[in-house]
Amino acid sequence: MAERGGAGTREELDRVLADLRALSEDIESCAVLSGERDLLSSSHGPGVDRERVGAMLAALVNLSEKVARENGKDHTSQLRIDTEGGHLLVVRLDDGGALVATTGPDARVGLVLYDMRNSRGEVEKVLAEGGEG
């Protein structure tokens, strides 16, 4: 499930993502991207190209930061993209990383974003503890 980082951190991130998915049933998949744009953990299914997904997520987060700079802002704190197939939701972490989730088209997006914002603190805590150890 997890991709990089210490074993303890990976397991903890997996647990946080599993808790988030259990809490928010509309979430189909979710992941944590580090401030260096590395895919730290994800709920990918078999057959999903992790490097490709990580690169696409990094491109998306970089694009949102570019838009923030162009608008005279420091950074983007939240991103919601509605597509025909579903929604892509991104919540920024303190270190510049991101908590990302996908949902189906009929998801209660406001509720999912609320749950993601609530989980953000726990993800940041795990990453901070992992950095110390």
Binding site: L60, H75, T76, Q78, R80, L88
Partner: protein, 69 residues
């Protein structure tokens, strides 16, 4: 000759109608795809997918939603 011209005219009209319907439907679905960005100061910006900037976001997101994380 007259009949041939009439058939050609009808064929052209049909092709035009099909193209117009296709463009209309594509435009409608594109407008459904939107991007909402919330900045650190709480301000927001929305981008439609029929803009160059918005399309970059929706193109990547469509693929991610399709394959999952």
């Amino acid at each position: 000759m007259k009949k041939l011209l009439r058939n050609l005219f009808l064929l052209g009209a049909l092709a035009g109608a099909a193209y117009a319907a296709r463009s209309y439907l594509q435009g409608e679905s594109a407008a459904d795809e939107t991007v909402q960005i919330v900045f650190d100061d709480g301000s927001t910006r929305s981008l439609a997918s029929n803009t160059t900037e918005g399309q970059e976001f929706t193109d990547i997101s469509r693929k991610i939603v399709e394959i999952g994380l």
